[in-house]
């Protein structure tokens, strides 16, 4: 009989990462392991000190842990993300990132600009391998194991509030889809489909997503797209063509929203309410 659920995570400390410090991850790891108390977890990492930390945390929180040694240069997406980063130059959109700074934009391309400008370019591409590469790791794990459900969880997932509908440990997965949270970041003003922090699905869904994801990644590189590409960007692009592959666990637009939206539209109140809400 298949075991129920396997969590997959990973952590590579990239020297020169201006997005997050080593301490940021070390501070959040204990809470993430606490959340996973009693669960099965595969953890990808490279350095011996991170291995020691996660082993000790697994013992403390009774997490059934398997460590996978994976030097970042041997990550299946390392070469591809290096190639992709070659098209993403800091000067591409810097002027707009500076201009809209502080205006409340959560625009992905402009947000990524901070890391692009402050990191050496090879560091930026290595960080991208970590974020963008989770789907390949998940795919690999689903082929090696026999669980009914696989969840990606960021090592720093405990940075976000977990309760109620946000408590992924209690999620009943919608079959045939990657179950996810909504993302706060935007692509040209529209919210990205999924947050990449916690993603759950059946093995066949991960494998299907992996095929589409890899194909899109290659197209992204081949077309020399200058927009910073992360897992969330690729999933948003995929969701437009394969909406059935994604299921948001905190749906933002319920039937009640739709009814109210229809009423506002029919009464021609959109402009008035927009002005009222300023």
């Amino acid at each position: 009989m298949k075991k129920k659920r396997l969590y997959v995570s990973g952590l590579w400390i990239i020297e020169g990462n201006t997005k997050r410090s080593r301490q940021h991850y070390l501070d959040l790891l204990p809470e993430t392991f606490k959340i996973l108390r009693g669960e099965h977890l595969v953890f990808f990492c490279e350095s011996e000190d991170i291995k020691a930390v996660v082993l000790s945390l697994a013992q403390r929180y009774k997490v059934s842990l398997t460590i996978k040694h994976l030097p970042i240069q041997q990550h299946p997406d390392y070469a591809l993300t290096k190639q992709m980063a070659g098209n993403i130059r800091p000067e591409n959109f810097k002027i707009w990132a500076d201009a809209f700074k502080g205006s409340g934009t959560h625009e992905k391309a402009l947000n990524q600009q901070r890391f692009l400008q402050n990191s050496r370019h090879d560091i930026y591409s290595t960080i991208t391998t970590c974020t963008l590469g989770k789907v390949s790791l998940l795919n690999e794990i689903t082929l090696e194991n026999n669980y009914a459900e696989y969840f990606w969880i960021d090592a720093s997932a405990s940075r976000e509030y977990i309760s109620g509908k946000m408590d992924f440990r209690r999620w009943r997965l919608k079959p045939g889809a990657i179950n996810h949270r909504v993302s706060g970041m935007k692509l040209f003003g529209k919210h990205q489909t999924a947050s990449g922090m916690v993603l759950g699905g059946e093995p066949q869904v991960w494998q299907k997503l992996h095929g589409i994801y890899q194909s899109l990644l290659k197209t992204y590189i081949f077309s020399r797209c200058p927009h910073p590409g992360t897992d969330e960007v690729l999933m948003s692009l995929i969701a437009k063509k394969h909406p059935e592959l994604f299921h948001c666990k905190n749906p933002t637009r319920t039937w009640l929203h739709k009814v109210i939206g229809k009423i506002i539209w029919n009464l021609r109140l959109t402009s008035f309410i927009n002005r009222a809400l300023n």
Binding site: N87, R89, E91, N92, F93, K94, I95, W96, A99, F100, S103, T105, E107, A109, L110, K186, L187, F188, G189, K190, H191, L216, T219, Y220, S223, R224, C225, P226, H227, S236, L237, K240, K241, T252, R253, H257, K258, I260, G261, I264, W265, T270, S271, F272, I273, N274, R275, A276, L277, N278
Partner: protein
Amino acid sequence: MPPKRLYISALYIVEGNLKRSPEHYFHHLEHTLAMIRGGSLMFFYESAGILSRVTAVATKYEINFLPQKLSLEDHPDYERTQILAQNACDFRMDVFVDAFPQLTSNEKGFNQYFKFLNRGENLQAYGKQLVCTIGKYSLIKKAMAKYDFEELYWVDVSASRFNHERKNFDFSKISIHKDAIHHYSSSQTIFGQTQKVQGSVLCGNRKAWTSFAELFDEIFEVYVRSGCIYPATDEPLMTLCHLKKPELFERVDLERRTLIHKAVGKLLSPFRKNLLIAMNQY
């Protein structure tokens, strides 16, 4: 007393213009000039054919017509604009436009790159069109140097296409009440943020235009030197100007936020997020 207002416009028919056909401009020209009946118009042109057609319409509407020949290659912004057009060729967002085709209408960069620059294949014509849109501030400077009108109104020859579509659409009735560039709003976006200024009609007194021209020139130069690949026209550049010096701009089609709006807004504020979701704007 001499008239104090000068309208300024230009028309260059660029071969390979994927944005508009020549007939589009001639169709709207008639209505635009009708709106400035009896006024003074400085008009920049390149070909004799354009001059004769516009002269005929200007005569019909009793306009004090002040034509000025200027070839595009001699335009002071020609060279910098070609660099901008060349940089825009790197805006290869094909994977995005496959997923979000509506971006080619809403988002300025997509609109320029996919519709007019045609993914870099229409560079020559696009570069010339860009001179026409970006270079209007330089034409205003020329007008200020040549004539001593106090108020200068830039008007696209096709400005009448917005008639009855925006508030205070009749630009001839806009009065300049402060030292600022008076403008309409735009519905297009840049990285999802609404552009601050629409470029079809821009009016201001000499003081405002002098300050604006200096700022615009500086922003234009910075943009070109930055190597930014986001396709820019006058509107994104003016948006950058607006972000830097908002006091230099005055919107003329503002839907005022009245006391009722404020009161309703206060009542609705706890439901703000849900209302935006309901209206599909979150």
